[in-house]
């Protein structure tokens, strides 16, 4: 806002508040300060990305959401419940309820998936039957 405009507004405020008592003027001043704080907070909300991610990340996330609408991968996990036992010791790459590729080498499986036109399958390694249970770190 140009300085002349600010000066004009201040003159109007001075004229409007001139009949008021000191206490009333202070109440008006407090009101204006509150309004300014709310404006700052609203602007900050608009600018702050959710989940602690940057705006760039938000855009990327939107693109990913378009490609992967279900972040729970429900269809993939349902497929795994039914077929996991058939692919022990292998990587399975899934898109929805479709097995795109599988094998012991994740890079080869990814290359196959991409050749099949699936760029971003869910990558799951299915533990082998005789594999010792994972102990964590």
């Amino acid at each position: 806002m140009a300085s002349e405009t600010i000066e004009r507004v201040m003159n109007q405020v001075a004229a409007l508040t001139s009949p008021l008592t000191l206490g009333e003027k202070l109440a008006v001043a407090a009101f204006l300060i509150d309004q300014a704080k709310q404006d700052v907070a609203a602007k900050s909300d608009d600018e702050t990305p959710t989940n602690g991610a940057s705006q760039e990340t938000e855009l990327e996330s939107k693109k990913i959401k378009d490609d992967i609408p279900d972040r729970y991968f429900r269809r993939e996990y349902e497929w795994l419940r039914q077929h996991r036992h058939e692919y022990r010791g292998q990587y399975v790459l899934l898109k929805g309820d479709r097995l795109v590729s599988h094998g012991p080498d994740v890079r080869k499986a990814l290359a196959e998936a991409r050749q099949a036109g699936v760029k971003h399958p869910l990558i799951v390694r299915i533990e082998a039957e005789d594999e010792p249970p994972f102990g964590g770190w």
Partner: protein
């Protein structure tokens, strides 16, 4: 008598019959992203992934921040790189560690980068995990 209560925004059902508690996770860096299955590991200090995934995201693994990770039977080297970690509807900018050893075939969600960003409730008997972003609408 219930003395404490937490609320959560998300519930995920995992296969309690499997050996670990897994979560669908998306790793992204720039334009590249990979959806992967990762195990929850409250004993792991970091989120650690297999080397190939880092390479697929375009990282030169050894140019990252070196950490020597301790395990009960020894140590292994892992290198940290900045990624966006997405779990369910949550996106976190974190340093993910990628194991130097290509034979490392685990993906784990550990404390720094995941557990310190969420509130978590587990009912393992029923294969249920409740989740909220820390400081979000759940809990508190």
């Amino acid at each position: 008598m219930i003395r404490y209560q937490l609320g959560f925004t998300d519930l995920i059902n995992y296969d309690a019959g499997e050996s670990g508690i897994t979560l669908p996770t998306i790793l992204h860096s720039g334009q590249a992203y990979l959806p992967v299955d990762a195990k929850l590991d409250t004993g792991s200090t970091y989120c650690i992934f297999q080397r190939e995934l880092g390479e697929e995201l375009g990282f030169d693994i050894e140019r990252g921040h070196l950490e020597i990770i301790g395990t009960p039977i020894g140590t292994f080297r892992a290198y940290g790189h900045p990624v966006t970690l997405s779990v369910l509807e949550f996106d976190f900018e974190i340093t993910a560690y990628f194991a130097a050893d290509p034979s490392f075939n685990r993906n784990v969600l550990g404390r720094h980068g995941f557990l310190d960003r969420v509130q978590l409730g587990l009912v393992d008997y029923e294969g249920q995990m409740y989740l909220s972003q820390f400081g979000g609408n759940g809990g508190q």
